[in-house]
Amino acid sequence: MSVIAHDVYAGDRTPARRQQPTGFGMALHRAKKGLRSPTPYLMVFGIAVWLFAYWLLCEGLSLPRFEKIPGPVTILSDWISANPQQGTSIYTPDYYQHIYVSCRRILIAFVLATALGVPLGLLMGWSAKVKDYTFPLFETLRPIPIMAWVPLAILMFAGYETPVIFLATLASFFATTLNTMLGVQSIDESYFRAAGCLGSRKRDVFWHVVVPGAMPFIFTGLQISIGVAWFSLVAAEMVSGDFGLGYLILSSYVNSVTVPMVIGMLTLGFVGWFSSAIVRFVGNRLMQWHVKALAMQGR
């Protein structure tokens, strides 16, 4: 009996199963099942309790010290009011200006850091020599926290914009480069060997093995990198800058208006989360093979 002649293995032999529902039907089923479990109610309950405690401490009881912090009602009413008492709401153009400036800086810094860090990381991972020469230097500079660069950056670069972008880029750059390098080193030796057997030139190995093989690590690195970019952006904007969410937070503090300060914090949280979601989304789109393999392993 021939085992390969008639497509025996590849044949569709999935055990007989009931009709698979459409995407919508499946979603509906999941939602129904979810609603039967206590999870969604507990989640809502958790958030409600937290908000209520916040309100009670700051507004309901106005405990000492807590009264200085604006409560949820104050914040929300100001945030959506056309005439905010403390000057910042979704109707004021300044608010969007702050968001725009911060996002623009992040974008520039992120693109710069990726454009420099990924190729350098690939090179460091691929060539032992390049790594030997550069990695120790890297490791010497890396323990210096990004905040320590702030004054130096302000003195070295003129204006408001450049130091801020420099700091965010620097932070991202370290994360991206290191992860890319680790990514290349994590590629199994046998892929290189297989490529060699199949008659690849160096160029083929680079484009067909090194780059795609390091991809999962690169995207992990990019996610970390966008996180630290926001982190250092806020720091830099607080110290120097004339716009941006970090600046909004600090200037509100200096001017003793607390509501825009909290609005700035929440906005920052949302924008930061959103940007890392975009990176994750792009990564998943680019690495279907990785996503599918993980799904098969039940993860």
Partner: protein, 285 residues
């Protein structure tokens, strides 16, 4: 459609490997370790040559030397009379006339099966890119993998992935196929079917096969010749000619001739296994 990969010459003429007096000494931290000790083998064109030995005995070192992953210290290796590596250039070049199928599988996980199979011809510029993919698909179909050609390796079972890897090797029309314990992680039953699939591909191509394993029954079932190796340093301990008729299938496993062959080799293998085992325990302590 004309067969893409399975076109066997009536009498195989290429793919003879001569391993002559090869020695390999590793040098970790200045302490010399002999992995292979004056080893010689003559492998005829189209022969299925099985190398059996305990793990870590140095049989992979020989494979690495043939494939061009590692250099050798002494001796020489020839392919069809042409030296691959010898005293002058101890490291063989890597080329598509000798293709390795790896222990844990080395299909690129970021390419679909068809792209994987097309990779070799593509980087060698044998055909235009579209044609490479086309031929890869046809080859996969012949190997019974037509339905999964557009899946990623992570999406198919390990058995399918391993067969696709063999197809990826064969589409380059190599002279020698080097297999490094490719079925090690599989359970016995899957393994059995994999063997039958491999033999079927072999029967159609008659490519020379150099197959490393530590499973004696696997070796006897597949091979024309079984080399039992000693534990480190690696030397040839015993050579057994397998005269079981081809084509073979699972009924061969229970035939009288098979039983006698196993009996003949078993003692030698068991002895080496015990030695390796004891050495292992000593090393750990």
């Amino acid at each position: 459609m004309q067969s893409q990969i399975f076109s066997a010459p009536t009498v195989p003429t290429k793919g003879a490997i001569s391993i002559r007096d090869v020695t390999k000494i590793y040098d970790p931290d200045g302490a010399q370790v002999m992995a292979v000790d004056h080893c010689s083998m003559e492998i005829a064109p189209g022969e299925v040559c099985m190398i059996v030995g305990p793990s870590g005995c140095g049989k992979t070192t020989l494979l690495n030397a043939i494939a061009g992953f590692h250099s050798i210290t002494e001796g020489e290796i020839l392919l069809d009379g042409v030296p691959l590596c010898g005293p002058k250039h101890p490291l063989a070049s890597q080329a598509s006339d000798r293709i390795v199928v790896f222990q844990n599988g080395a299909l690129f996980p970021w390419k679909t099966l068809a792209e994987n199979v097309a990779y070799g011809p593509m980087v060698q510029r044998r055909w235009p890119k579209a044609e490479c993919i086309e031929r890869a698909r046809a080859a996969l179909k012949e190997a019974g993998l037509g339905n999964v050609a557009d899946k990623y390796p992570g999406e198919v079972s390990s058995g399918m992935a391993r067969r696709a890897e063999i197809v990826r090797a064969l589409i380059n029309e190599p002279k020698v196929l080097l297999l490094d314990e490719p079925y090690r992680a599989m359970d016995a039953l899957t393994k059995q079917i994999m063997h039958e699939a491999l033999l079927e591909m072999y029967d159609r191509t008659k490519v020379t096969i150099y197959f490393i394993t530590h499973d004696l029954e696997e070796a006897i079932f597949l091979g024309d010749k079984v080399y039992v190796m000693t534990t480190r340093p690696c030397r040839v301990k015993k050579v057994i000619d397998i005269d079981l008729p081809r084509p073979r299938d699972y009924t061969t496993l229970t035939s009288e001739a098979f039983r006698l062959l196993v009996k003949e080799a078993d003692e030698a293998v068991h002895e080496e296994a015990l030695k390796a085992f004891q050495a292992g325990e000593r090393e750990m302590a």
